[in-house]
Symmetry: C2
Subunit: 219 residues, 2 copies
C-alpha cells in the first residue's frame, strides 16, 4: 500500500538557455576585463542594436555573474581618484560561455513588432492618420539605416587590413580565445543584418503607403 508516486522522476527536457545579457557580458569580459560602465558602452555601440540593456540591468547582472562564480571583480583605483570595479572572467565563466554557444538554438524566437499590432487594428483610423504614422516610421528607419551604414564603413576599413593576413583556423578546432578574423567576419554579418532589416522595413512601409494612397484616391 506504499505510495511510490513521490519517486516518479520528472522527464528531463532540454531547457533553452536564454539569459542573453549574462552571456553578452561574459563575451565582452572575456575579450577584455572591463567595468560595468565600459560594458554598458560596448553594448551601446555594438550588440545594443540587437540586444539593448539599461545600466541598472548591467550592474545587477554582473552581481549575479559574480555570485555564480563566472566572473571575479576587484575595486581598482590605480592612478586616479575613481573607484572602478573591474570584472575578470573566470575559467568557470569561459566554460559557461562556450557551453552556451555549443547548445544551438533549436527554435526561432517569437517576433515582437509593435507597429504591426497598430497596423492590424488601424481599420479604426482614417487613412491620412495611418499614412502619417507610417511616414514617420519610414523616417526613423531611414535614420537607423544610416547609422548602420556608417558603422559598417568603419568596420569595413578594419576588415580590409585583416584580410591581408592569412586565415589560420582548422575545422573543429579553436584555441579557446576568439579567432580575430572569424570574429570580424561574424560581427560584420550582424551589421549586415541590421542593414538588410531596415531596408526590408522601409520597402514594406513604402508599399503599404502606396497601397493606402491608391485606396484613398478611389473615394
Amino acid at each position: 500500500m506504499t505510495d511510490f508516486s513521490i519517486w516518479i522522476i520528472p522527464s528531463f527536457i532540454l531547457i533553452i538557455e536564454r539569459e542573453m545579457l549574462k552571456y553578452i557580458l561574459l563575451g565582452f569580459i572575456w575579450q577584455k576585463p572591463s567595468t560595468g560602465y565600459e560594458l554598458k558602452h560596448a553594448l551601446d555601440n555594438t550588440t545594443g542594436n540587437f540586444w539593448h540593456a539599461y545600466h541598472s540591468q548591467v550592474y545587477t547582472t554582473l552581481r549575479k555573474l559574480e555570485e555564480e562564480g563566472l566572473i571575479q571583480t576587484f575595486v581598482e583605483n590605480g592612478n586616479d581618484h575613481l573607484t572602478r570595479r573591474v570584472c575578470y572572467i573566470t575559467e568557470k565563466g569561459k566554460k559557461a560561455l562556450v557551453e552556451w554557444l555549443n547548445d544551438p538554438m533549436i527554435e526561432i524566437p517569437k517576433m515582437k513588432e509593435d507597429l504591426l499590432v497598430r497596423v492590424f487594428f488601424s481599420g479604426l483610423r482614417s487613412i491620412p492618420e495611418i499614412e502619417a504614422e507610417l511616414r514617420l516610421q519610414k523616417k526613423l528607419h531611414e535614420q537607423q539605416l544610416a547609422l548602420y551604414r556608417d558603422a559598417r564603413q568603419s568596420i569595413g576599413a578594419d576588415k580590409q587590413i585583416a584580410e591581408t593576413k592569412t586565415v589560420k583556423l582548422k575545422p573543429n578546432e579553436h584555441n579557446g580565445d576568439m579567432d580575430p578574423t572569424l570574429t570580424r567576419l561574424l560581427q560584420h554579418a550582424t551589421f549586415r543584418f541590421g542593414i538588410a532589416y531596415e531596408e526590408m522595413y522601409i520597402h514594406w512601409l513604402d508599399d503599404l503607403i502606396k497601397e493606402l494612397k491608391s485606396v484613398e484616391s478611389i473615394v
Copy 2:
C-alpha cells in the same frame, strides 16, 4: 527659509503607451465579444506572429481590463454544460483603443535578435559548428515562411471577393467600427511583413553560410 523644493512639479514627458496585449485584446473584443479561450486562439492565428502571449497572461490581462472598466464580462452557459466567461467591450474601452491608436509611435522599438548575439560571439566556435546552427535556423525560417504564405493565400481569396465591393471611406472620417476593406488591406500587409522578414532572414543566412564556407576552404 521655507524649502519649496517639494513643490517642484516634474516635467511631463509624453509616455508612450505600451501594454500591447491590452489593446490587442480590446481590438479583438470590439470585433466580436469573445471568451479568453477564443481570444487566445485569435492571437495564435493572427497577431501571435508579431505579438505572442500565453493563456495565463490573456486571462490576467482580461481581469485588468475589467477592473479598468474597458470591458464587461458575463458568465454564460447557454445551451451547454461549459462555463464560458464572455467579454464585451464598453464605450470606455472603445474610447481607450481609439485614443491609443491616435497616439502614434514616435520611436522605433529596440530589436531583440537572439541569433545575432550568438553570431556576434561565435568567434569562439569552430566554423562547422556555426554552419550547422545557421543551416538549422534556415530550415526553421523556411518553415515559418511557408506558414505565412499559406496564411496569405487564404486571406488573398477573401480579399478578391472584397475588392468587388466599392470602397466607401472619406478621409479623416470613420464610423467608429472598423472599415472592413481597409482592415483587410492592413491585416494583409502584416502578413506581407512576415513574408518579407523571413525572406530577408533566409537570404542573410545564405550569405553568411557561403562566406563561412569560403573562409573554411582557405584552411
